[in-house]
């Protein structure tokens, strides 16, 4: 019989996530996967899983799990209170859950997304090579509900410790952004980005981080739909930028003023509504006629 855990309480949103299903954008399939990939990879390493194993992405924590079999777990992301059968334990450490014990994950003081890895990984059937829930296209498992039972894969022995401090989710973010591909749709895109200031809107989700604040002046009209990548900053006619996260549509018709640096994107994905965002534009002089 398979080892299982029971999600007694999901909290605001609990999703199965791994590193997603890149490579299918030409079929209209979003990449999906953990918004903060470094955190799910760390959680997996801590419990001896390959980094690609599926775990849980928990929006604002608040999740209770019962181990139906003895297992090792790790909770990563922003610093968060963790208890096993009521006793305080540490996040960012491997924790042993005896059979029948309950893990309670609190609500982090900062940041948005907490990650939980379980030894053996969550073993739901993969779709297009990934177990991730894609909220835009509906591919992958449904969002979890209270009392869902999840099967686990075969655990491997953990190989050594891995010490990483909890993710810092500051109240003000300074985000590096590479101009283009459609910065020419804007009057002096670089200055507009550098001088603007935004806050993260509460209408943000796994599709994108919506920013409110300085309106970006752009040309009118639409571009024939073109391919989009994670981190692209799309600017609709209202001038309010949207930074695409993992469940973004694969094509879009609004101009992309720039693409957020990969290492900075996870911090945007962890930014709570109200977080202040400034952009630090960088230009790479590789645009221009090819021949």
């Amino acid at each position: 019989m398979k080892r299982t855990i029971t999600v007694v309480r999901t909290g605001p949103q609990a999703l199965i996530q791994d590193l997603g299903r890149p490579g299918h954008a030409h079929l209209g399939v979003p990449p999906s996967g953990a918004v903060d990939p470094d955190s799910i990879k760390l959680a997996n390493r801590l419990v001896g899983n390959p980094e690609t194993a599926a775990g849980l992405e928990l929006l604002l924590g608040g999740t209770h799990i019962t181990a139906e079999a003895s297992c090792t777990v790790a909770v990563t992301g922003p610093a968060v209170e963790v208890r096993i059968d009521g006793k305080l334990a540490d996040s960012h450490q491997p924790l042993h859950l005896p059979k029948g014990s309950t893990l309670e994950i609190g609500t982090p003081d900062t940041g948005l997304r907490t990650y939980l890895a379980v030894s053996g990984g969550i073993d739901t059937p993969p779709a297009l090579g990934s177990r991730s829930t894609d909220l835009l296209s509906g591919i992958g498992p449904e969002p979890l509900r209270d009392h869902d039972v999840l099967e686990l894969g075969t655990p491997a022995p953990a190989n050594g410790a891995d010490v990483v401090p909890p993710l810092r989710a500051p109240l003000e973010l300074d985000v590096a952004i590479l101009l283009g591909p459609r910065d020419d749709w804007f009057d002096d895109a670089e200055t507009q980005l550098r001088q603007g200031v935004w806050t993260v809107s509460d209408r943000s989700n796994r599709v994108g981080v919506r920013l409110r604040g300085t309106k970006l002046n752009r040309r009118d009209g639409e571009i024939p739909s073109e391919g989009m990548i994670t981190g692209a900053v799309q600017v609709p006619p209202d001038g309010h930028p949207v930074v695409f996260l993992n469940d973004h549509p694969t094509t879009g018709g609004y101009p992309v003023i720039g693409v957020v640096d990969r290492d900075h994107l996870r911090f945007l994905g962890q930014a709570r509504p109200g977080t202040t965002v400034r952009f630090r534009p960088m230009r790479v002089s590789t645009t221009g006629p090819h021949r």
Binding site: P22, G23, H24, A25, H26, L27, G28, V29, P125, A127, L128, S137, G138, I139, G140, L178, L179, G180, P181, R182, P224, S225, E226, G227, M228, I229, G231, A232, P249, T250, T251, V256, V259, V260, D261, R262, V284, T286, T287, G288, P289, H290, R291
Partner: protein
Amino acid sequence: MLLRRCGTDALLVEVDSLIEVAAVRAALQGLDGVEELVPAARTVLVKGALPQVREALATVDLTHAPETRSREVTIPVSYDGPDLDLVADTANITPDEVVRLHTGATYEVAFCGFAPGFGYLTGLPDVLQQPRLDSPRTKVPAGSVGIAGEFTAAYPRATPGGWRLIGRTEITLFDPAAETPALLAPGDSVRFVVA
């Protein structure tokens, strides 16, 4: 051809026509290290292996549509869509003639997007190239077959949509659990037949 920087590891290749898009896609298909290759109406997005991509693009012949070993897909359609009469009126022909024209052409999947398995098919006869509805439907049923501008398509699942709907198909267009999840991929050749 214009190469537009798209983050640190992707390029948006901009060209002038769907034929040039097909030529660029064919030149980059199967290149080692390419993670994503996303053709669209006037662009190809390519992620990964940028030095090799630039090299391949330096010699691409944009004037010739590539020889491709495309799959041939047949889609059976019941031509009873809610906009069939509107399409016929707009074209100043009968609904039967709409069906004859739509089934008479051979289409090519120019690109996919909007939703998983949603293929934009080119090759639509001129009189069927018609604008979207003034007001999009909040829910277009799965399997609906529609036209919009130079494209025709079948909706893989129920979504909002503004295309003029001329029929519906029972065929599965996208199944994430299948070995080949999408019925249609860029470059495929498609015909519609009366179900």
